[in-house]
Amino acid sequence: MVSWIKELQNILTSVIKGKDRAIKMAIVTLIARGHLLIEDVPGVGKTTLALSLARATDCSFQRIQFTSDLLPSDILGVNIYNPDRREFEFRQGPIFANIVLADEINRTNPKTQSALLEAMNERRVSIEKQTYPLPSPFMVIATQNPLEYHGTFPLPESQLDRFMMHLRIGYPEFEYEKLVLKEVRDLESVESITPVVSKEEILKAQEAAQEVHVDDSLYDYLLKIVARTRNHEQIRLGVSTRGAQFLLRAARAYAYVEGRDYLLPDDIKEVAPLVIGHRIILKTRTYIRDAEVLVKEIIEKIAVPL
């Protein structure tokens, strides 16, 4: 295993206790060049996770609080007339950072949402015929509150598709919650984080992760899972080809984080519920199910390659 990943994990777990899996998945997403959507109730550490990830990786960090009156230019930036130089010059919006926390992304209007999502997808911003590349590495961590519906604009499926992973943090377990209460835990502990990895190292890891060896049988395995979501009786819309690509990338990154240079079926099994879960549409009228659980069930039934 690359040493800094272990270190990064250690630092993050010391800040956010009892959430090893969520932390690991966040790192996997970063290494897979993906974006993360965290859906959970307020106060379980979504923001802390994003912030500490940025701190520990020596990355620039921006936080955008999404509100209903937010405009695309508030995110991307705007051309401002400079009276001294007598010309318009571009002022970068908050999206020009390595790690962007898009807080409560479903609170803003679809126009702004799509501006963000486009930038996420293309990793560049185009304003008035000018194209500005976003910094690298670039990762958006968006959060959503699943319980509030009033005045929200839920992300359509096509946009949910842009996020590599859909993560739920959940309440910490009793022991860890007790630990959280005992310790003085505020933004100070996050502030105290020192970077353990440079941007260059992250970019190298991102490249190396995509070199992870995949045996031919594992492509079959992955596609069998994908195909099953398409003909499952409880699913209305299955996983797209882009979803399959994302799944492979995430699995590779997971294998890399695990310290392997080859993929195992376990990697696919591990990330698939998080990668696939938000990409399928259930026949909700008939089956009130949790997509993630359903994906797990599907995977259990598909024969592991020998």
Partner: protein, 636 residues
């Protein structure tokens, strides 16, 4: 409901109808229901709405009323009436096929039709229809499943469909072999009606205008050793000629001693004799046929009767084929039963004596005289099946001998017998079958109604010598396919239709006898000759398929996967682990368990992952992997 499913439903309905229409006893008018049915399905496929429910209900009610009429007055047969009923219901239902139960109704009715048909028919075509039905049902099953699951592709189902069909077929065969048998058929219905007879216990002349050659098969006979002469399958004899008809008056029937299944009539002859295995279709007579001079007869019947003239009877009303084995010497019978009756000539044929003496003038021995008469009739008369009835009051024999000079075998035989009698040689008419087509594929004779024949027996030198004054017919050549088909039919009749309790017992005994002792069993019975090779062949075939599948699966696996699978199997015995776990997950389960070699196991599984999915590995990894494999195998 997709149109394909509708078409499939229609096809299954059609197999049901076809099975009934191919059987005997159904009114052919009901063929008309088929176009209606097709029309109904056509409408369904085209997407027209189904018929109004009042129309369907009303028609169904009328059909039910018709059914009662059918049972009580029209066909007076429950099976046939139910068959008619299902055919009409099929037609009505075809206009009203809705999801999801209506196709099932159709399938169920088709099944009932097949059951009815199995009772009504003995035709081999039924087997073909049955196979179609099974295939259709299996496809329908899978198809309805595909529809329900929302899938579109049929291709992945081709293999399960075929294998399931084969399994069902095998099950049917096993069930067929094992099902308990009773005398008679399942419904106790007689099947004998509808078979026209060429052989009759009465021989009457001058009433029929024209005889049509009836190609219905009467019996099939395999003779051993094969004889070189034209076989005469002797039926019964006639002694008195009265009012232009032959009667059997003097013969007395006696019961033949013998236990069930085997009757001894005489001591076996020292010279050559013939063993005939005969399968006789249901006929309207108790007479059974064989070469003359029967000394032993094996037949599954309670009693066997013989009369003084050597005619054999099985006095049971037969609904099924009768299978028997006759052992004959094929020598002329002794004239122990000689009687004055055999010299009887009707009064109005007084002129016959002069007519005959003219022919045999100058000849001394009765044998010469008889042969001359036989030759005279053969050479001077023309064989014809079309005989004009004589003018009223005229004797048909006089008409034949003097006026028309043409007739068929009964005329020839009658004429010769009466001519012999008129010059003092006792003679009688014998009826039965002659010749038959020899089928070289199955080594047996096919004897049809058109082979029915009458000939002459004359008492000369203490023996009933056979004469046949009828001119011989040119032999008929059949095509290879026709002969082979008939061979198949014979086997079908013998082993499917005629499969009896005794066959079951024999099969059981055969299967429970060690191979070495099998020589003791009567080698001549057919199932033993064929069943073992078939059984062996199917076992070998199954093993080959199994081996091929294993080979294919193994070939697809890498060596490390085979090792891994073996260890997995061992672990599965010890631990409660799911079959679909990955190696990592298995390793976790093993670590958490109390297996003593758990660390080795974990290392083994990790190495497996590396070897199986890894990019590269060293020679040492492989050596270590094998070492671990051996160690775990020894100690687990």
């Amino acid at each position: 409901m997709p149109p394909t499913y509708r078409i499939l439903t229609c096809l299954i309905g059609l197999t049901g109808d076809a099975s009934l229409l191919l059987s005997e006893g159904m009114f052919m008018t009901f063929l008309l229901t088929v176009p209606f049915m097709l029309w109904g399905y056509y409408r369904g496929v085209k997407g027209y709405p189904s018929a109004h429910r009042f129309v369907v209900g009303g028609l169904s009610l009328i059909t039910l009323l018709y059914f009662f009429l059918d049972v009580t007055t029209l066909s007076r047969d429950v099976i046939v009436s139910v068959g008619h009923l299902t055919m009409i219901f099929h037609a009505i239902k075809s206009f009203d096929i809705k999801d999801p139960w209506d196709p099932l109704q159709v399938f169920f009715m088709a099944l009932i039709q097949l059951l009815l048909a199995s009772e009504l028919t003995r035709s081999m075509v039924f087997a073909v229809v049955f196979v179609f039905f099974i295939i259709g049902m299996v496809i329908a099953m899978f198809y309805s499943h595909i529809i329900k699951e929302g899938g579109r592709r049929i291709r992945p189902f081709v293999r399960p469909i075929t294998s399931l069909t084969v399994i069902i077929m095998l099950l049917v065969v096993v069930l067929f072999l094992a099902l308990p048998r009773f005398r008679g058929s399942l419904w106790g219905k007689s099947l004998s009606k509808g078979i026209k007879s060429g052989f009759s216990e009465k021989v009457r002349l001058g009433t029929l205008e024209e005889i049509k050659l009836d190609p219905t098969v009467v019996m099939r006979v395999s003779v051993q050793p094969r004889q070189g002469f034209r076989p005469y399958w002797r039926g019964m004899t006639f002694d008195i000629y009265l009012d232009n008809a032959w009667l059997n008056v003097i013969a007395e029937k006696l019961s033949v001693p013998g236990e069930r299944g085997r009757f001894n009539l005489d001591n076996p002859p020292s010279e050559r004799h013939f063993r005939q295995e005969i399968i006789l279709e249901p006929l309207d007579t108790e007479v059974i046929f064989s070469l003359r001079g029967v000394y032993r007869l094996d037949v599954d019947a309670k009693r066997l009767l013989i009369d003084t003239t050597g005619t054999l009877f099985v006095p049971e009303k037969r609904a099924k084929r009768l299978r028997y084995i006759a052992y004959s010497s094929n020598k002329p019978l002794l004239t122990d039963d000689l009687n004055g009756v055999y010299l009887q000539v009707p009064d109005d044929l007084g002129w016959l004596k002069g007519f005959t003496e003219e022919i045999v003038r100058g000849l001394k021995t009765p044998l010469e005289k008889a042969e001359t008469i036989q030759r005279y009739l053969r050479e001077n008369y023309r064989y014809s099946l079309k005989v004009k009835p004589p003018s009223p009051g005229e004797s048909p024999i006089k008409d034949f001998l003097i006026t028309t000079r043409e007739g068929y075998c009964e005329y020839y035989a009658t004429a010769m017998v009466l001519m012999l009698r008129s010059i003092g040689i006792p003679a009688r008419v014998v009826s039965g079958y002659v010749g038959g087509e020899y089928n070289r594929y199955g080594d047996y004779y096919i004897i049809r109604q058109k082979n029915a024949h009458t000939w002459v027996e004359a008492a000369i030198d203490g023996l009933w010598q056979r004469f046949d004054p009828t001119p011989p017919e040119p032999p008929v050549e059949r095509t290879v396919i026709a002969l082979y088909l008939d061979f198949l039919k014979l086997k079908w009749d013998r082993y499917v239709i005629g499969f009896s309790r005794y066959d079951q017992k024999r099969l059981l005994r055969f299967l429970s006898t060690p191979v070495r002792k099998r020589k003791d069993i009567d080698q001549t019975t057919l199932p033993q000759r064929y069943i073992f090779p078939i059984f062996a062949a199917s076992v070998i075939f199954a093993l080959l398929i199994l081996g091929y599948n294993l080979y294919r699966r193994r070939r697809a696996l890498r060596r490390e996967s085979i090792y891994y699978l073996k260890i997995r199997r061992l672990l599965e015995k010890r631990l409660d682990i799911d079959r679909n776990l990955t190696a990592e997950e298995t390793a976790k389960a093993v670590i958490a368990s109390n297996i003593e070699v758990r660390t080795e196991c974990a290392e083994f599984l990790k190495l497996y992952n590396l070897l199986r999915f890894g990019k590269e590995h060293s020679e040492n990894d492989i050596i270590r992997f094998r070492l671990l494999y051996k160690r775990i195998k020894e100690r687990i």
